[in-house]
């Protein structure tokens, strides 16, 4: 029995020397549990599909990035063009002696406002206004005072009429007129001489404006 045991131990020792590494680690490990797990195959399939979807998303995102970068490049070109045109304009203006500096542009607004005011007032014709008024005032009515505010185009007038009907006729005429509108009779009273004094406000719209 003793030699037989010796030979078995020797065999075991040889097997161990083959299976075990010098540090004690094994070369092979046999898992004896069952390898079948029902969820492995569907999960792997899901992971494969997910990988595919993410890969597509990556390609789509990269494409989007490239498109945005192209847009960016186009816009950069346009920006450079606008800046170049602006610089050319400024250089040209400087050659002409036109000051387009920031401080000058701030003053420009006031200058334009003043010039527009001047031209608007110059364009207003008092002669036209008086002609229109002459044509609108009926007989038996005379104007005592008249004042026009050119800014608001409101006319204030006082006058005399023979009868109250004449004042009414004047108001109605001015209400439905080509250049006068919004006539409002402020007050009227019969004076000691029997004439009707009235006070009227209306708006004037200059023809051609």
């Amino acid at each position: 029995m003793a030699p037989k045991r010796t030979s078995f131990r020797a065999l075991t020792g040889r097997a161990n020397s083959v299976l075990l590494m010098p540090g004690g680690a094994r070369y092979f490990h046999v898992e004896l549990s069952s390898r079948y797990r029902w969820y492995v195959a569907p999960t792997r399939l899901a992971l494969v599909a997910l990988s595919g979807i993410i890969a597509v998303a990556i390609i789509w995102s990269v494409t989007q990035t490239v498109m945005i970068m192209r847009d960016w490049q186009d816009m950069q070109v346009r920006l450079d063009q606008v800046r170049m045109q602006d610089n050319q304009l400024l250089a040209h203006a400087q050659q002409e002696g036109t000051d387009l500096s920031e401080s000058s542009l701030q003053k420009l607004q006031m200058e334009v406002h003043l010039a527009n005011q001047l031209l608007t007032k110059r364009h207003f014709s008092w002669t036209q206004f008086l002609s229109a008024l002459e044509a609108a005032i009926p007989q038996h009515v005379s104007i005592k005072s008249i004042r026009l505010d050119p800014g608001s185009a409101v006319v204030h007038m006082t006058g005399l009429a023979v009868t109250v009907e004449d004042v009414t006729a004047l108001t109605v005429t001015l209400q439905d007129h080509a250049v006068f509108r919004d006539s409002v009779l402020g007050q009227h009273r019969v004076g000691p001489d029997g004439l009707v004094e009235f006070d009227l406000t209306l708006r004037y719209r200059q023809p051609g404006v």
Binding site: E31, I68, L89, L118
Partner: protein, 182 residues
């Protein structure tokens, strides 16, 4: 390493490489979206703002240049300050020719918001027949000098003289300053 090998040997070990791949791709996707798309989009938006601003500035400069040219034309027609008194005298002469009486005319200059430009105002009363007054007003309105009638007010007609009317008149213009003046 051993741990990974051990895990790979497990029944579900076959899933680990796929899971790693999914995680890797998710990371790549996150990086592409964060750095790529978001970064590029932010740069594009910033550039678009710059472009719009540059366009507005260019348009503003173009309009300003045109306005400056127009203003030069307008200012060149305005009388200079030293011509204000002769202008007033010229208007008085015109009134005489139209048989309109301008008994007194006050001269006044007012500062404006624009440097080197002031407003000259001539104010007084004018008396005459309606036809003559109208002719005078027309002459002032169509004068070569850039003057305008700022205000005109008919005052009560003289009860004694129905033929004549009296107006308060205010004639104004803008005057160019003299740059050489110290």
């Amino acid at each position: 390493m051993d741990f990974i090998l051990q895990q790979l040997r497990k029944p579900y070990g076959i899933l680990i490489p796929w899971l790693a791949l999914v995680l890797l791709l998710a990371g790549v996707l996150w990086a592409v979206r964060t750095v790529g798309i978001d970064g590029a989009e932010q740069s594009r938006v910033k550039l678009e703002l710059e472009w719009n601003q540059a366009r507005q500035e260019f348009t503003h400069h173009k309009e300003a240049q045109k306005a400056r040219k127009d203003l030069v034309q307008v200012w060149s027609v305005l009388p200079v300050e030293r011509d204000f008194a002769p202008l007033a005298l010229g208007i008085t002469e015109e009134a005489k020719r139209d048989r309109v009486i301008l008994p007194a005319l006050s001269y006044k200059t007012e500062p404006t918001t624009v440097a080197n430009t002031s407003k000259g105002v001539l104010q007084g009363t004018m008396t005459g027949r309606y036809e003559d007054l109208r002719r005078f007003l027309y002459d002032v309105e169509t004068a070569e000098e850039l003057v305008y009638i700022e205000d005109l007010e008919l005052v009560r007609p003289d009860a004694q003289q129905y033929q004549t009317l009296t107006f308060n008149i205010k004639i104004a213009t803008y005057l160019r300053g003299e740059p050489d003046k110290p």
